[in-house]
């Protein structure tokens, strides 16, 4: 009995922390219809600023809170001013991609400054616990509750009684009407980003103190949890976000109580998927409200794709095919093999995100499904490796499509959130389903690639094999794009309402896109598993999803040749310039930001 009270208190405290993140997300969504994927990064920044203040500067607690809030708010203002304001009049996909890019840049900057190793963040509070009914509560719990309640009150007073707060409310009711009435939208945006960042930063610091540990993985977790809470409460609904957060905290806490800690996130993401499917406008909105996304407006940048003549493509393919006949180093071949593997993932993502407009952020999960399937088929059932890889592709196509299907009714940002969550669910299932996946130990001793009984061990044979696979996949995808399906996919991307009015079923065509794309990604994962000979639940992670997304934007959304050119560029150029591994993600993030800002149609143009 007493432990239940403890779990309840714990759930409410954690919920309070989520609320600080979610309220910021709700404010931003309210005024700019944007889900700020960088919110978790600000939370991370807050935690590390708190660490600097406490450990290095020895500031007293109240001052620490003020320093963290002010510094985080400054980061928020910078993001608004330089990251998002220039994109105000651009297509809807641009700010979405920008916040993703900003989040990666911030995380990497923190990682490079403080190293990825976890640090302790002492709370400066006495370590005592008070009896409360049957449970106990500590001073830090009280502090978190106090900060949560105080922030809620301050926010309420600000929104209710200040002129700027009134403008924020007006802008979130009806942005156009507010602008006509003379509301300065830039100031409103500044206000919400500043407030959201201050709350997020303080939240990160409090969490660091609560667990007495901070590390760079906190960022993605915080974004996900905040988004879950916000969506559960109804996007853009500030009180809803608070209630959604408390609910999320309780669900997680009770879930942990029953099933154990490793299931914490699984509950959060399942809650998200259930809410998205059953009540996409949140628990408190009427189910039949108009969707919160604008119904008109273009999602992707209009452009004319660069036409590359077929003979040029054939010459390029032939050039790459004969490359191993020349005295090139093992290192060059290895780099290109990596490019081909990434290229297969990019082909998949460019179809899903570019051609049919579902910006998936969990694409690495498809790699993981393909890799595990292929590895287990060849190890446990002794299926020949060539067939096992195809099996991986098929499994990824089938299972991936099935998992993503709840998100088919969603649009824009919601698809990205849902795919991110589904990607996390896949990795958590791999971690926890030990009887099949061998859990955290991973799978080792995966047999090398082989074809018709011949092992492909030498670098050039692996190179030829992966080149052949990517060429076949690219040709198939090119053929798909010129068929009526390519036309239908693109129509759904450009205007799903008009597409439905002309008989295009969203479920049918989104499924077909994911089936086709899932196969390519699964094959890539399968080949990777046999090359690495060891995989675990972290082999295929969000970084690869983002890298693939950057490749896709670089090459041009939906552009098959662009996906391959982009892969070669993003894998090859860092090698050419000998950029150290830890700077690469930072550079990918910056490349993504620059593209979104200056060349949204990518190198070869959107198709």
């Amino acid at each position: 009995m007493s432990s239940w009270l403890d779990y309840t208190i714990n759930g409410l405290i954690v919920g309070n922390v989520y609320a600080l993140v979610a309220v910021g997300l709700a404010l931003i969504f309210g005024v700019s219809r944007l889900i700020n994927f960088a919110q978790g990064s600000i939370y991370l920044v807050g935690a590390y600023i708190g660490w600097v203040a406490v450990v290095q500067l020895h500031t007293p607690l109240p001052l620490t809170i003020i320093v963290v809030a002010a510094a985080a708010a400054l980061v928020g203002l910078i993001i608004e001013r330089f990251g998002l304001r220039p994109l105000q009049n651009s297509v809807r996909i641009a700010p979405l991609l920008a916040t993703i890019g900003i989040s990666f840049v911030l995380d990497q900057l923190v990682m490079l400054t403080f190293s990825p190793n976890p640090r302790a963040l002492p709370s400066q509070l006495p370590d005592v616990r008070f009896q409360l009914g049957g449970g106990t509560i500590g001073p830090l719990d009280l502090l978190i509750a106090g900060v949560g309640i105080t922030s809620a009150l301050l926010l309420f007073v600000f929104l209710r009684y200040s002129k700027l707060g009134w403008a924020v409310r007006a802008a979130s009711q009806d942005r156009d009407a507010a602008m006509q009435m003379g509301v300065d939208v830039n100031r409103v945006n500044q206000a919400v980003f500043g407030i959201a960042a201050a709350l997020g930063g303080v939240s990160g610091m409090l969490v660091g103190m609560y667990y007495n540990q901070i590390d760079t993985a906190m960022s993605l977790q915080a974004t996900l949890k905040g988004v879950v809470a916000e969506v559960v409460g109804g996007a853009g609904n500030v009180p809803g976000a608070v209630i959604g957060s408390l609910l999320l905290g309780l669900v997680e806490s009770y879930g942990v109580a029953v099933f154990g800690t490793s299931y914490r996130n699984l509950f959060a993401f399942l809650l998200l998927v259930v809410v998205l499917v059953l009540r996409p406008n949140g628990l408190f909105a009427s189910a039949r409200q108009a969707p919160p996304e604008p119904l008109t407006g273009t999602f992707i940048a209009p452009s004319r794709p660069v036409r590359i003549p077929r003979w040029a493509l054939a010459v390029a393919a032939a050039g790459f095919a004969i490359l191993p006949l020349f005295p090139v180093s093992f290192y060059v071949l290895q780099t290109l093999i990596n490019a081909w593997l990434l290229g297969m993932l990019a082909l998949s993502l460019t179809l899903v995100a570019g051609t049919i407009g579902q910006v998936s952020l969990g694409h690495a999960a498809l790699l993981a499904i393909g890799a595990y399937t292929s590895a287990l088929l060849s190890l446990a059932l002794s299926v020949p490796v060539g067939l096992a890889v195809i099996g991986g592709g098929l499994m990824s196509a089938a299972l991936g499509t099935l998992l993503i299907s709840p998100s088919f009714r969603l649009r824009g940002h919601y698809v990205s959130i849902a795919t991110l969550a589904i990607g996390e669910i896949v990795s958590l299932v791999i971690l926890n389903w030990e009887s099949v996946t061998r859990g955290p130990i991973g799978i080792s001793g995966i047999p090398p690639l082989s074809l018709f009984g011949y092992d492909l061990i030498s670098p050039s044979s692996v190179y030829w094999f992966s080149l052949a696979v990517i060429v076949v996949l690219a040709l198939l995808q090119g053929r798909l794009l010129t068929s009526h399906l390519g036309r239908s996919f693109r129509a759904i991307r450009d205007d799903d309402i008009a597409a439905r009015a002309y008989g295009l079923s969203l479920n049918r065509y989104k499924s077909l896109a994911f089936i086709f794309g899932g196969f390519a990604a699964g094959v890539s994962g399968g080949i990777a598993a046999h090359l690495y000979s060891y995989i675990n639940h972290e082999t295929f992670n969000t970084q690869q999803s983002i890298l693939a997304l950057t490749v896709v934007i670089l090459g041009g959304l939906g552009n098959v040749v662009g996906a391959i050119v982009g892969s070669v560029a993003l894998v090859g150029l860092p090698e050419v310039f000998r950029i150290a591994a830890e700077y690469r993600i930072l550079i990918y993030g910056i490349v993504l930001l620059l593209l979104v800002r200056f060349r949204p149609q990518g190198l070869l143009g959107t198709i």
């Binding site: 039949r288 108009a290 008109t296 273009t298 992707i300 209009p302 452009s303 004319r304 198939l476 053929r479 798909l480 068929s483 009526h484 399906l485 390519g486 036309r487 239908s488 693109r490 129509a491 991307r493 450009d494 205007d495 309402i497 008009a498 597409a499 439905r500 009015a501 002309y502 008989g503 295009l504 079923s505 049918r508 499924s511 077909l512 089936i515 086709f516 959107t606 198709i607």
Partner: protein
């Protein structure tokens, strides 16, 4: 209700509420085969919402929609498209990155053989297979449809044919409206709903559009038209329905409706909408 039996479309008590606002309020309507009915009314009267209810993009809170005797209330838009209901959109919804040809081909989507098998899982997979293998029957069908699209575009004279491979986003506003109508015609509709097809067009372009609609009507197509330009409404319509604040306030032949005091008051009560003013000035 003798009319009910042979009517192509019949609405009974159709109602849609948004919060406290009743956008469409207990509308009854019967549209006979080959008839053209215009719906007019001040801005915000609920005309577009009514179209959304008929085409399945929105669901009514009460009332029924029957199409050729079948109850189609609440069916999905994709089902209704397959039944032969096509529409254009007030604000123009072309597929911006698709060429004119591809935009109009989407109109013919429901007629493709590859999309016909409605078996779950197998049907879509067959469609994928056909798209990749492209046997000669599929190629021939595509070729035939392309010829058909060119014939449809030819109805707009030289407006669209020279731009057939250009992306729709590069077209003028009026041309986008034409592409929308071409796309609707490619569906071979049995019922066509046009939501302000001449919005934003100059007098010459409006006259062309009027001639086109007259031609479609003469060919026997059943049409429901929303239009602010009363001149055009008077010339084309067999009957006119006037809506205000969700309700049907008048119905009848053009001249009758025009002189109905309730109609005049509805327009005056809304301070004469800009478009109505232009009409009376013209």
């Amino acid at each position: 209700m003798g009319e009910h039996l042979d009517s192509m479309l019949s609405l009974r008590g159709l109602t849609r509420r948004f919060g406290g606002l009743t956008a469409v309020d207990a509308i009854d309507l019967d549209l006979a085969k080959g008839e053209l009915i215009s719906i007019i009314g001040p801005n915000g009267a609920g005309k577009t919402t009514l179209f959304n209810l008929v085409t399945g993009l929105d669901r009514p809170d009460a009332g029924t929609v029957r199409f050729e005797g079948q109850d189609i209330t609440g069916l999905s838009p994709e089902r209704l498209a397959a039944e032969g209901i096509a529409r254009t959109f007030q604000l123009g919804r072309v597929f911006g990155n698709l060429s004119v040809m591809d935009n109009v081909l989407i109109g013919a989507h429901t007629r493709l053989r590859a999309v016909k098998p409605a078996v779950p899982v197998i049907g879509p997979l067959l469609e994928l297979g056909l798209a990749l293998l492209r046997p000669s029957s599929v190629k021939a069908e595509e070729e035939r449809l392309r010829e058909e699209v060119k014939a449809i575009l030819a109805r707009f004279g030289e407006r669209l044919l020279p731009r057939i491979d250009q992306p729709a986003y590069s077209l003028s506003y009026a041309n986008r409206r034409r592409v929308e109508i071409a796309r609707a015609l490619a569906l071979k509709p049995r019922l066509l709903l046009l939501d302000e097809p001449t919005a934003g067009m100059n007098p010459t372009e409006t006259a062309e559009m009027q001639a086109l609609v007259a031609e479609l009507k003469a060919k026997g197509l059943t049409i429901l038209l929303i239009e602010h330009k009363l001149e055009m409404v008077m010339r084309l319509s067999d009957r006119v329905i006037v809506m205000d604040e969700g309700k049907k306030i008048a119905e009848g032949r053009g001249e009758e409706v025009r002189s109905d005091p309730k109609v005049i008051e509805a327009y005056l009560g809304h301070g004469l909408t800009g478009t109505a003013e232009q009409e009376s000035a013209a």
